[in-house]
């Protein structure tokens, strides 16, 4: 029990908020890479990215379920929720930056790092957090709320700390004849509101389901450290899916990590639009249609987060209305990415994901009829 362990329920809630922030932070890079792929190119990569984006949405939702289970209030409109890109992620004793960029070798190298965080070498096992000062303008994801300059060694350790915290607090509550799982069960998001690959979404109601939920997030990301397939479902962890693209070959059952022996696949590393990395609205020529469109996208994205916040706070059926917004983003992002960036020859536009504060609730025409 070191001084960085989670000791209060409020602290656990803040950790889970950061877990949601972390899970969300991977969505803009993956989504942008996905839609940067030119029509007709990279069919395999498109499938891989699509499946992974969907699963990251699942992880975000799972984190919200855990937070709701302990009586927290998921808030995706807090000003710091959306990372400022490039954002820092822990990577052993250093960190690396996750940015908004086109599909390509560099993007994949980053994605592999996201999905398989560093493992501690033996001499560091049991040692504490890593001290590292992060510049104030950089979002440091998966950092410790109480010790902003102390970082977890890896995303895996960040989640381990959450799991330990849940166990510790629940044991403590149990001793006092109570539980930390006091959240309203109707706030849980279940699979009827969410499916399309990527596993089941189950309600979190107690210690067991909370730990299972964390396990699912970790496993889908980095795999469980054992074989490349999780179980009889033989579903590939994200790391290995990205690795298939790098290696140009699919895994099949019985394969060893790093050595896929399945069918070959083609990756066209040039088959993506040349978007400007980590573009900001300020970089876009003022008065241009592209700038207006980038701002419009950010506003709409803010409305989406607002809607998700309401869905995660007792109105799960609103998730059904978030679905068409996701599809709207596809069209908006495609247009941004195909437009040349004024005054930057050879570079195209991109969504900037600078989400303005004070977004109002999106105009919801009417709840979908399927709620009943």
């Amino acid at each position: 029990m070191d001084s960085y362990s989670i000791k209060t329920l409020d602290e656990l809630k803040e950790f889970l908020y950061r877990a949601m922030q972390l899970e969300h932070a991977t969505i803009p890079p993956y989504l942008t890479a996905l839609y940067s792929i030119k029509p007709g190119a990279n069919q395999d990569a498109t499938q891989v990215l699509r499946v992974i984006v969907v699963e990251e949405m699942l992880h975000l939702t799972i984190a919200a379920n855990i937070l709701n289970a302990i009586g927290g209030k998921p808030d995706l409109v807090r000003p710091d929720f959306v990372a400022r890109y490039p954002a820092a992620l822990p990577d052993g004793e250093t960190d690396f930056k996750v940015g908004i960029q086109a599909f390509g070798r560099e993007a994949l190298a980053t994605f592999l790092k996201i999905e398989r965080p560093a493992q501690r070498p033996e001499h560091l096992v049991g040692k504490g957090l890593i001290y590292r000062k992060t510049p104030p303008d950089i979002t440091a994801l998966a950092s410790h709320p109480r010790h902003e300059d102390f970082h977890f060694y890896s995303i895996g350790e960040f989640y381990s700390a959450i799991a330990e915290g849940i166990k510790y607090l629940e044991a403590e509550a149990h001793g006092a004849g109570t539980t930390i799982f006091t959240g309203d069960g109707s706030r849980q998001i279940t699979s009827e509101y969410y499916y399309s690959g990527g596993g089941e979404l189950f309600p979190v109601t107690d210690l067991k389901s909370a730990l299972e939920a964390i396990e699912l997030i970790i496993e889908q990301g980095e795999g469980d450290g054992g074989g490349i397939y999780e179980d009889d479902d033989h579903e590939l962890a994200h790391y290995y899916r990205f690795e298939e693209l790098v290696k140009g070959r699919y895994y099949q059952k019985g394969d060893q990590p790093g050595q896929p022996t399945g069918p070959h696949l083609q990756v066209d590393w040039e088959g993506a639009y040349p978007i400007k990395e980590n573009l900001k609205v300020e970089d876009i020529f003022e008065g241009s249609e592209l700038r207006e469109a980038a701002i419009a996208f950010n506003t709409r994205y803010g409305e989406f987060l607002q809607l998700l916040t309401r869905a995660f706070n007792g109105q799960p059926s609103l998730l059904l209305e978030a679905v068409p917004m996701m599809f709207e983003f596809r069209n908006m992002i495609l247009e941004l990415i195909r437009n040349p960036l004024p005054k930057h020859p050879g570079k195209n536009g991109s969504p900037t994901y600078q989400i303005p504060g004070g977004i109002k609730q999106p105009a919801v025409t009417r709840q979908a009829e399927v709620n009943a």
């Binding site: 009827e192 499916y195 399309s196 479902d233 579903e235 590939l236 099949q252 399945g262 069918p263």
Partner: protein, 623 residues
């Protein structure tokens, strides 16, 4: 659940020819064959499926290629995703022309004689016609099973609704039907108390809702009986929201897609408005999903139990003259769709199942010289007659969004009027006038070329002309008539030398009386909606039928049935109520062809239900 990349074992022709130990040999990989294959594999039986098509679309890349073919096709007819393959040719409606009485057109795969030309289609590829079906899955009404007794029309089934009800539920599970029980409890349809569909109902389109606003609470009178109207959602075979209450609270999980290596299952319906001819995300059921599960079943020694032999066209059913049993199938194996070169192999097994669709199954029987004791093989051909009515709504309705059809008017599916005229169910088409006029492309050409619009006027014009389109498609009951039939003639053969189907069809008067009333009904509905009627039927239309001084363009529904009708004796039918041939005890003719009537329900759900029954019967006979 992820299935292996190449989930189907591709059998090779040589091994198949030398292997005599198949428990079941199935011709066709559509829904009928897929259901029986899956049941048999789960019971540990060895199954061979013969598929005439190339099987390329059993992989995700092959499936996506169909989509690319569709995007690239200058004419987007309902077979446009499917590449030409003369060795397994399919009917294509754009190739049809008007025929005079007695005139024969053999220029297309189906040979037809005038005056009525059917534009009905089916698909000979992996997954069969479920690769392009619309996936509306209404059940037959209870009365549809006894129309002879109740109305003096058509034939009674040898099965009652009660005997099929449980299999309806199995079929709804297999297909993954999205519907709400409360929406389907009309005209005497009942469900067990605790029953819910696997998934919740697909929401009605905005267009449906606007139509409903105009007609809900109104009614029509027919032969002194009042029929209240409203727009109801159709049950649909596409992924919606799984119902947690399904299966006693166990819930339902949609599983299966072609090549589930990268996509675990078809996605949830996104409203691509393209159920026909091809769902881009496999949200709409196709039998490749059932087959993926069948291919994944292993036997005791870990071997896969279901094999698929593509590019294999069954050309003759060989009968043992002493026992009357099927001895083998002669199967033509081609190497290349572009070449008629082929070898012929002989395939043996214990049980043979012809599941090639109502036209191809009858064609194969007749080409094999097997007319059956009753002489009814190929006869009683049925297909819903469609009458299209189209109008412009007074307000923008957002046409061209949603699944092909989410709702319709089904209040005239049953009533005492069926003694005199056909019943109908009406689909509201979310894709506007497309079926009738080729919209929205036809609108674009008109606005640009004829109305000389450009710029803002053109944009406004497109909204005004397309977003208000309403098409009511009347799906009209057709009763069995022996003279409506499929036959063969050695003078008409395909690239492989197999005899082609000859289709002779006259729209029965009973149906035309329903059509004539349907036209009046549409005018009434349009009047109540304040919609401007644009319907017109061209006398030069290949499907033009004159009736009582008026003309109507009748379209085929692709709901083929009746060619090996089911009955109570070998003299009044081709198959028994288990779809087993009366004349050949190890032969099953399955699918729509067994249906004695089709009422006003799209046939797939019902034929799927009766295939579950046949599957059980086959397994019993193998023990």
């Amino acid at each position: 659940m992820l299935f292996p990349l190449e989930s189907a074992i591709r059998a090779d022709a040589k091994t198949v020819a030398e292997s005599g130990d198949y428990d079941i040999v199935i011709v066709g990989s559509g829904i009928s064959g897929a259901i029986i294959a899956k049941q048999a594999a789960e019971a540990g039986k060895r199954v061979l499926i013969l598929e005439a098509g190339t099987g390329a679309n059993s992989t995700l890349a092959g499936y996506d290629n169909l989509l690319t073919t569709f995007y690239s096709a200058a004419s987007k007819d309902n077979q446009s995703p499917f590449p030409l393959n003369a060795n397994a040719a399919i009917p294509r409606s754009p190739q049809l022309r008007k025929l005079q009485a007695g005139e024969t057109d053999s220029s297309n795969y189906i040979v037809q004689s005038g005056p009525y030309v059917s534009d009905t289609v089916y698909t000979r590829i992996f997954g069969g016609t479920t690769m392009h079906w619309e996936a509306k899955t209404p059940r037959l009404l209870r009365s549809d099973f006894t129309t002879r007794t109740l109305f003096g029309q058509g034939l009674d089934w040898p099965l009652s609704f009660e005997e099929v009800e449980e299999d309806y539920r199995l079929a709804e599970r297999e297909i993954g039907v999205s519907a709400n029980v409360e929406d389907q409890q009309y005209l005497g349809q009942t469900f067990p108390d605790d029953y819910v569909f696997p998934m919740r109902g697909i929401p009605l389109s905005y267009l449906d809702q606007q139509v409903n606003k105009g007609i809900e609470g109104t009614s029509v009178e027919l032969y002194d009986k009042t029929y209240p109207l409203k727009v109801r959602p159709y049950p649909q075979g596409r992924n919606g929201i799984p119902n947690p209450a399904y299966d006693g609270g166990k819930g339902y999980r949609p599983i299966g897609a072609v090549d589930t290596h990268q996509v675990e299952e078809g996605g949830r319906c996104q409203g691509n408005t393209n159920c026909v001819p091809l769902c881009p995300v496999q949200a709409r059921y196709h039998s490749g999903k059932s087959l993926a599960k069948a291919f994944a079943v292993s036997g005791e020694r870990g071997e896969r139990l279901v094999e698929l032999l593509p590019q294999a066209v069954a050309s003759k059913v060989n009968i043992d003259p002493d026992s009357g049993k099927v001895r083998s199938l002669s199967v033509k194996i081609y190497k290349d769709p572009a070449s008629p070169a082929h070898e012929t192999i002989t395939v043996k097994g214990k049980i043979f199942v012809l599941a090639a669709g109502a036209i191809e199954t009858a064609r194969l029987m007749l080409a094999s010289g097997l007319r059956s004791t009753s002489g009814l093989v190929g006869r009683n051909l049925m297909d819903h007659a469609y009458l299209l009515n189209w109008a412009l709504m007074p307000e923008i309705c957002g046409t061209m969004r949603g699944t092909s059809s989410t709702g319709g008017i089904v209040d005239l599916r049953d009533g005492p009027f069926r003694e005199k005229q056909a019943a109908f169910a009406i689909d509201i088409h979310n894709d506007g006038w497309g079926w009738a006029t080729g919209a929205p492309t036809s609108d674009l050409l008109e606005l640009v070329d004829d109305r000389n619009l450009y710029g803002a006027d053109l944009r406004r014009g497109m909204v005004d002309q397309v977003s208000r389109q309403l098409l009511l498609a009347f799906m009209i009951e057709v009763m069995p008539v022996e003279s409506n039939r499929i036959s063969v003639d050695p003078q008409y053969t395909d690239a492989l030398g197999n005899m082609r189907p000859i289709l002779s069809f006259t729209v029965p008067e009973y149906t035309m009386k329903g059509a004539a009333y349907g036209r009046q009904f549409a005018r009434t509905v349009f009047a109540r909606l304040g919609a401007r009627d644009h319907t017109h039927y061209d006398p030069n239309d290949y499907g033009y039928v004159a009736y009582e001084g008026q003309g109507y363009a009748i379209r085929g529904g692709n709901h083929l049935a009746g060619t090996h009708i089911m009955g109570t004796t070998k003299t009044n039918s081709v198959v028994d109520k288990n779809q087993r041939s009366w004349d050949h005890e190890n032969l099953y003719l399955v699918g729509g062809g067994s249906m004695p009537t089709i009422g006003t329900a799209n046939v797939t759900l019902t034929l799927a239900a009766i295939c579950f029954r046949s599957g059980r019967n086959i397994l019993k006979s193998l023990h």
